[in-house]
Symmetry: C2
Subunit: 510 residues, 2 copies
Amino acid sequence: MEQKVIDPVVQKALVQFKNLDEKITHFSSIIGLADWDQKVMAPKKGRSIFAKATGTLRTEIFKLSVSQEMGDLLAELMLPENFELLDAVTKAKVREYSAYYQKSKSIPADLFQEYSILTAQANDAWEEARENNDFARFLPYLEKIVDYKRKFAEIYGYVDHPYDALLDEFEPGLTVKTLDPLFAKLRDSSVKLLERIQKHGTKTQAEIFDQSFAIEQQKECNRFILPIIGFDLEAGRLDETVHPFAQTVNTGDVRLTTRYLERNVRSALFGTIHEAGHGIYEQHINPEFEESVLQSGASFGIHESQSRFLENMVGRSKEFWKFFYPKLQEYFPKQLESLSVDEFYRAVNTVQPSFIRVEADELTYNLHIMLRYEIEKALVSGEIEAKDLPTVWNQKMQDYLGVTPSTDSEGVLQDVHWSFGGIGYFPSYSLGNLYAAQILRTIQKDIPDFYSHIENGRFDLIQEWLKENIHQYGKLYTPNELIVKVTGEELNAEYLVEYLEKKYTEVYGL
Amino acid sequence: MEQKVIDPVVQKALVQFKNLDEKITHFSSIIGLADWDQKVMAPKKGRSIFAKATGTLRTEIFKLSVSQEMGDLLAELMLPENFELLDAVTKAKVREYSAYYQKSKSIPADLFQEYSILTAQANDAWEEARENNDFARFLPYLEKIVDYKRKFAEIYGYVDHPYDALLDEFEPGLTVKTLDPLFAKLRDSSVKLLERIQKHGTKTQAEIFDQSFAIEQQKECNRFILPIIGFDLEAGRLDETVHPFAQTVNTGDVRLTTRYLERNVRSALFGTIHEAGHGIYEQHINPEFEESVLQSGASFGIHESQSRFLENMVGRSKEFWKFFYPKLQEYFPKQLESLSVDEFYRAVNTVQPSFIRVEADELTYNLHIMLRYEIEKALVSGEIEAKDLPTVWNQKMQDYLGVTPSTDSEGVLQDVHWSFGGIGYFPSYSLGNLYAAQILRTIQKDIPDFYSHIENGRFDLIQEWLKENIHQYGKLYTPNELIVKVTGEELNAEYLVEYLEKKYTEVYGL
């Protein structure tokens, strides 16, 4: 085989590129820690001043990412005759920085400045609007945000649909053309399944959760389960916040938060398992990608697939509860003495249409996303305007879920995402469910006794598989490359549809 | 009065200088938070990688501080015709950056690099040496460190004694010529007072502390006392570490740590009060100095004066215990039922020569410092060599404290300071005591019923005085300027000598 020789100029560029990548990643890692700290630890009086300090470091990261040096290096490395000689890892790094560089450079600085100020103000307006059920308070900001997003979409460019340009920020390469049929299938089948469940009329014993579950016991229970399902507490932490999240500092330092509610034992438990799914992903990334832009998950959707896989496919399975319910009964003997594991399994899988996305069950959750996806698409394309949102929202709630929120606070104002300009983000949640079901199908081929492992409380082989096939790669592959590599085909809604069908047929004895 | 007009070139330099100062301070504030986190919160597997990230940010701070831009700005602002037009705050900032710039620039880069590697290795060697009571393991590193320090002293320059150049890093402007008589007086009087106490033979009931004090109760007790003595828990935190410290993020975010030992109730209590003294200082700094190099204490010695003032002059006073002992008895009724407040006061002020500095009482503590000061001076001037240290150490321990450590681990190897090159640091501790006693004298002039306030648990007026006269100024004044401004005279050992004399005469009924 012919030996390819890399030019000394390119060699030099590679060293500089590596150093720049390392510097950006180091700074980002510190920002990650600082963000976690301000949410979890910082005393309140210091936060506003500290935000200026992190603002300065964020600006530094931005400047490095769009610097002349970065531009020159990318140009050099992306020359076809040079690019083809690069190894796969360097190619992926170039891909990541180049995408960010192109996007950032394409937006005029003053436009971006105006937009940043707008979203900062919009967040305050949204908080007030939601608190006072006052959509009009938020509307002028939302209108402007939509305007900017339409402008950005034109600047970034797209082939078929302007929404593609926004989707790309969260799920690189994904388009409306691909997503529409996937989501339509999921939506239609979910609406039908929901109707069947509701017509069938069987009830689960969900009222069991309407009791007090001592928070100290909940904490012990969460600390007990975390290492069992695969989260390494020597390479991470578990803390408490009102809004649970996972934050990575590096692969040896991944921090989860959860929320304990005395009258909702499910909140902390499934919240912790969900965040652990995100966290284990990051703990498993190849140490070689440490200190580089690849040190993160492949996309929002793929990341969400790992949290949903652990929370739903594992954590809401019958086999998981066969293993874990006796332990839970030890923690809460009085509350759970009257309930069999089978009844408990059905209770945790209760389907109940509600107004609030974050409280939704596994089936109706996706309908909350479908609604948001359709609204975002129509907003960006100009089919609807921001002022139409309360009406459109409530109509779709009625169509898909059969319920209409009585206030905008419980409706169109419930989510923070639009206030920070995160249009294009919501699909990630359902993408996560779709990816997860497709991965479940594949892992069951490789580990046919997958659910026996869970029933026996053995998660090592399963986590090893996830690490080997998904986690270790970090951002090396695009989400589409990854799902094809793992499952042998592109994303297919069939698997989630079948999974839901099978699950609820069993839970509700349809 | 003639209006002074500042040249537009200087105006521009002032804006650039302010921006550069702000950037450096922002990054330093983030490093402060990160350092705290790694000691208090970080899971162990992430720390070594994260150290590389903070290393990159520290390097950035260093580069900014010694940059061409900084050099040019300082040169411009320090031109006599420009400097005289600057306000006092800007003058102080120029003073601070210029001192650092001069020192850093004077050391050749490769020399500094070698030295940095040496101290990193020396720390590991010291840890091993202390663990195995093996001075020979540390000796070659200590020899090299002393060599470097001698070189640095020559490079920095000095008038009378090479040690002056090292002292200056911790207590700007202080020299051996000033310090020698202060410390000699303190040493001689302390040795004599110790002899009198030992001859007199009175015993305190120190054995009261040799009991179990439940840690949960200790924690409550610490949380109770902190806000009372003036630490704002909304602008700070209290956590646990093996080695207690105070870390400032900004004036609204000052973090203390303490250590709870079941069989040593004094450790956490006085440790917390000590760190609170540091912390309150930083919480009280003028918000106008926020985001600038002045956002810190005047010097190591002045800082230590504030922790010692609160720990000793307040926290070990009879009036403090008249106020607080009944509360402590509520926390520990069984352990303390048999002891009167007077007996307790005397027990917490027990004088007992020991080998270990950090466990020393208020009187013998300074003798531990005198010994280190004398050794450091002699090392730097070449009167002794590193290999002589065990002998010299033990001889001085015998001379001043009347005890000889049986091992080097309990002797010359006990402190971390030399392993990181901190020669010149130790005097700060006794300087703190000297400053504190002098400040006590002054505050008692302004607040004649100072100790009645303490007896009544009222710390507001006292803290207001400290804020007004000391804390608010941050680094605006040099330590000497500050002590003269506050007390009307330069540092004078008389006050501490008298304070100790009076206190122990009472405690021991001499």
